[in-house]
Amino acid sequence: MRHLKAWLGIGLTAATLVAAAAAPWLARHDPLRADFAQSLRPPGTPGHVLGTDQLGRDLLARVLHGARLALFIGACTVLITAVGGGLLGLVAGFAERWPSAVLMRIADVQLSFPFILLAMTINAITGLGLRNIILSLSAAGWVVYARVVRGEVLSVKQRDYVQAAAALGMSRARVLFRHVLPNVAPSIVVVASLQFSQFIVAEAAISFLGFGVQPPTPAWGSMLSESRDFLYVAWWLAAFPGVALALTALGVNLLGDWLRDTLDPKLRV
């Protein structure tokens, strides 16, 4: 069962990556080109495997290009939050005293507010669009890394090899990056993999509500939002982008579970 889940995770994630990378070759159509003569065709129409939307745009092309966007946003936010939150956690765990206290209070404040609502509020205020959604998700998501890394650093710091390195006269920065960081890295990888699907789903939800990536850009969330007006006549517009989103989230989740079981079984996120 466990191996099955791991392989399913790896397979689904790989399939998503391939679909995103090969999108222009897998779907011959331009995801943005409208063709009103071909609007709202059901799946299986010759030339349009998944059918077309209200403007006659090819759904397969839009779903595949949506995968590019989702993975791009997920990768950017995970990178920014892992580096930013991880560094803050390292410093807070190592320096203790006031930087630690200040950082953890900020984290508490942020955690006293639902993640998705926070990201959405930041977006509504700073403006919509691709760059801002990456920034707002990052601003809302760094806390988890900072907390986990700080906790790990506090325990690693007490180990003999760190004490020995310090006793040998190593600079604090060197101890931090050569001896503490490598021992904390597995936790960062595990948190990143578990956060990745959360970011993708959050982005879709925010775009769905109208605060994220804007139409006509083919983002799964905004595609699902548009599909609501056609639910009575075109079920496929609501079904396929959602299936793509759920499968991607499923693959990354399973991969994350496997990484946690392998690298850091005690970690609870």
Binding site: P114, I125, V201, A205, A246, N253
Partner: protein
């Protein structure tokens, strides 16, 4: 105990003040809400008059002091759109959200805990495998998409349930199921692993050895001891339900706090946004406090310190 609760309430106040400050700062730094709200053909002098009247011309520090002074008295100003008291609007929508969230939480616990316990007790049985598949799928399925699919199935195709709105019990079914689905999956998985951990303990062996009925062993000895992580997660999730409610309420046109917040954000109706932020962060921190107090009751070894 009393000192602990008092210090936690003081922390709650601090958290609320800081989150209001953050949102106030972001709103004021992001440009002029007045301009966005005015019709396109308005005269510059009218804009200025409106701004003067709402106090946007004063120094930021003065605006902040006035805002905080008002917030302490529960006065967040008038809604720019509805021309009525912002906090009043928000409070008016609160019961609908509490009803939805409460139903979803109840549904979550009723589904998830038995599922997790049975999975753990009958580990590796077909039931356990089926439950694992269901929970893994439940966690990966985005709530708003599940909502769309349920609307398609039960409203469009079968015509059993209304697509949205409020009023009857039928209106409550789909929103609460959607809101509960994700959390039920998480809590079922956690219950399973927490119970599995406890089933290997000596006191469970002792309870069995002295001839207790298996149901009693599970209910009295295993479940109670695995309750702490479950309650922790359920508490955190109860807070996240507020975030989930934002999306669910929008899909099903449920007239609650979440939908009001989304509309206020779309309209840039910032007094309402600030009042909603205030109420949500107060509720969130109070839920967390309640969870911490529950620890002491569940596990008398836990000593709460101020």
């Amino acid at each position: 105990m009393r000192a602990y609760v008092l210090s936690r309430l003081a922390q709650t106040a601090l958290v609320v003040v800081l989150s209001l400050t953050a949102v106030f700062g972001m709103v004021r730094l992001s440009g002029d809400p007045v301009l966005l709200f005015m019709p396109m053909d308005i005269q510059a002098k009218d804009v200025n008059e409106f701004r003067q009247r709402l106090g946007f011309n004063d120094p930021l520090a003065v605006q902040y002091a006035r805002f905080m002074g008002g917030a302490v008295r529960g006065d967040f100003g008038e809604s720019l759109r509805y021309r009525s008291d912002a906090l009043g609007l928000v409070l008016e929508r609160l019961p609908a959200t509490l009803l939805l969230g409460g139903t979803a939480l109840g549904l979550t616990l009723v589904l998830a805990i038995p599922l997790g316990v049975v999975s753990a007790v009958h580990r590796d049985s077909p039931f356990d495998h089926a439950a694992t598949v269901a929970t893994v799928l439940g966690q990966a399925t985005p709530g708003f998409w599940l909502g769309l699919m349920l609307i398609y199935l039960f409203s469009v195709q079968l015509r059993w349930l209304p697509t949205g709105g409020t009023g009857t019990l039928a209106h409550l079914v789909m929103p609460s199921v959607v809101l509960a689905a994700f959390f039920a999956a998480r809590i079922a998985r956690l219950t399973r692993s927490a119970v599995l951990e406890v089933l290997g303990e000596d006191y469970v062996l002792t309870a069995r050895a002295k001839g207790l009925a298996e149901t009693r062993v599970i209910a009295k000895h295993a479940l109670r001891n695995s309750a702490i992580p479950i309650v922790t997660l359920a508490g955190l999730e109860a807070g996240q339900l507020l975030g989930g409610a934002v999306i669910t309420e929008t899909i099903f046109a449920w007239p609650g706090l979440g939908r009001l917040t989304v509309q206020a954000l779309l309209n840039r109706d910032f007094p309402v946004v600030l009042a909603a932020v205030f109420l949500i962060s107060v509720m969130y921190t109070l839920i967390n406090l309640a969870v911490d107090l529950l620890y002491g009751w569940l596990d008398p070894r836990v000593r709460l310190r101020a």
